[in-house]
Amino acid sequence: MVAIAEKAARPASRLQFILDRPGVLGALFVSPAILYVLALVGVPFLLAIYYSLSAFTIYSQSYRFVGLRNFVDIVNDPVFRQTLLNTFVFTFGSQILGLILGKFGALMLLRPFPGRKLVRALIILPWAVPVALATVAWEWMFDSLYSVINWMLIALGIITRSHAPNWLGTPDLAMLCVIVVNAWRFFPFAIVIFLAGITAIPQDVLDAATVDGAGFWRRNYQIILPMIAPIVVVGLVFGIVFTFTDLSIVYLLTNGGPVNATSVLGYEGFQVGIISGDVAHGAAISLFMLPLLFVLVLVMLRMIRRQEI
């Protein structure tokens, strides 16, 4: 007893319990993530900002500062302006389509039916399948000669073989195609968001609305949608940011064609900066999105906060 008491009485080293301090332990746990973000996001980001203000190409690696000249150049370029417009059409088109599909998918999956669990599992597939693989499958469906969509439309007598649409070869149809494929990839995510939101609504509120005389549409648009709006907006912000910066579907399906009809900012930045080697202009194109997205995210997060009051 005496020995133990003496041992405890001795002042412990300052460092002996250092890991018990929340500040120290927390910093230790968080530091890998911070290092990762700094090294792989922060540094390239700052580098890109510098490139966009310089005359750097892979053929003449000059770090000469040129101010905003690169930005003025790209804004004066009609291809870039077309690309900017395409990006908005592509992003909002596919998000809206994805949200509609997601809402109806969620409503369907909320009703009990045989095999619901299987359908719930399968519906996540578009999200889980590697984008390259899925896009190749879509490419076959939209193929000018072997399109299964055209085959069906012809078989149903809706169109004739001579008037079969060339899905990826016509500018407007090609844009529709990339929007559909992107919406198809996004809608499982939207379903998950809607399901999470709807199941979180207290049953009492829905019952109250029913007793108060609200029918299906009123319940959906005056009660359910406003109540899940905050979570849907968060999902939408993610969707928009990812789609705005995405280039994979366009790259795999249309290569930006025909005649830049489906070229989007991410794709254009990649083409100019990496493929053509004009790093300065590529960086300028890529960073052109940044203030836009920043404003977009701010506005949406503002909306959420107002909802919560």
Partner: protein, 341 residues
């Protein structure tokens, strides 16, 4: 005329009989309380009246017509839910106006009715707030206003006080009861709390395992229970039961008194061993066993402390206790009330 009349309502969920043949008539303007332990089917029964559940068998009549195939919104019922079910994204004004908007009531009329309902419940100053900015008691009043604004034939309340703290509950109980008397709306009130039931109900329907055990005024339910379940479910502490002639005889703790406190001569005497006693200020609860009974079978007596000094009843002592014969209730072997002694 009966505002609500149900006949032989049965509701089965996957082989479980939640409601097992309830026939009940609620006259116009009555405050009817459905009292029962949790899981007895009382809420399911209320939801069937409301139209949120479809009964497996039986008929529901509201205001004289069968409403089995009529959706909730057309039944003329309003329901107030346990957690109120206020719409969090609407201001209080819009919450109260919602049932009128769905019926396409003209705007001016809506304003008038919202004004009327908010005056009635004195929530006029809250109209421009949102539900989350309100206290529990205020939310409850808003929910009541929303239920009443349509002037329903029947008002259905599903445990409306269970989300309030004990102090608020007492005042809210009083408020609802007074309010119902003033407006005169037929009300069906579901609760598992016998104090609420006794204090508020014009009549009480005691429900157990999906069946009505007894319908009666609070006095009838308490003094004249129809069976052993009602006798032991209502009253704190519950009625004492002693084996008797293959059945039971029951007596309320407050009727079980020291022999010398009862002037009457028509009494039944028991020898009572005191085990412990609790002093609760206005009363003293004494726990013990009867001579000749199972020692695990605890009997309680509720004594007026002014008449019984602490020193006179000590643990371990045997005392002569008695019950007036008129206060004894006899039950059959199957729990039904009987006059056979």
């Amino acid at each position: 005329m009966s505002a609500v009349l149900t006949s032989e309502i049965v509701k089965t969920f996957a082989n479980v009989h939640a409601v097992n043949g309830i026939s009940l008539a609620v006259p116009d303007g009555e405050f009817m309380v459905l009292l029962g332990p949790s899981g007895c089917g009382k809420t399911t029964f209320l939801r069937i009246i409301c139209g949120l559940e479809r009964q497996t068998a039986g008929d529901v009549m509201i205001g004289g017509s069968v409403v089995n195939d009529i959706p909730p919104r057309a039944r003329g019922v309003a329901m107030m839910f346990q957690s109120y079910g206020l719409y969090p994204h609407y201001k209080i004004r819009d919450n109260i106006a919602f049932p009128l908007r769905t019926q396409r009531v003209p705007r001016a009329e809506i304003e008038k009715r919202v004004e009327w309902a908010s005056q009635l419940l004195s929530i006029g100053h809250l109209l421009d707030r949102r539900p989350r900015q309100l206290s529990g008691g205020e939310r409850q009043r808003v929910a009541l206003a929303r239920a009443l604004v349509r002037e329903p034939t029947v008002l259905l309340l599903d445990e409306p006080l269970s989300n309030l703290d004990a102090k608020l509950r007492a005042s809210a109980r009083n408020e609802i009861k007074q309010f119902q008397q003033r407006v005169g709306t037929t009300t069906i009130y579901v609760t598992h709390d016998q104090v609420e039931a006794m204090g508020m109900g014009d009549r009480i329907a005691v429900i157990d395992r999906g069946m009505v055990r007894q319908v009666g005024t609070p006095t009838e339910i308490y003094d004249d229970p129809a069976d052993r379940f009602v006798a032991t479910f209502v009253g704190t502490p519950p009625m004492n039961l002693v084996a008797w002639n293959r059945g039971h005889v029951g007596f309320r703790p407050e009727n079980f008194l020291p022999r010398d406190l009862i002037a009457d001569s028509a009494v039944t005497e028991f020898s009572f061993r005191v085990d412990r006693s609790e002093y609760l200020g206005s009363e003293r609860i004494v726990y013990g066993v009867l001579d000749g009974c199972d020692a695990a079978h605890e009997i309680t007596a509720k004594l007026p402390p002014a008449h019984v000094a602490e020193e006179s009843i000590r643990p371990g002592e045997w005392h002569s206790f008695a019950v007036r014969n008129s206060a004894l209730c006899y039950f059959d072997y199957d729990g039904k009330r009987t006059n056979r002694h």
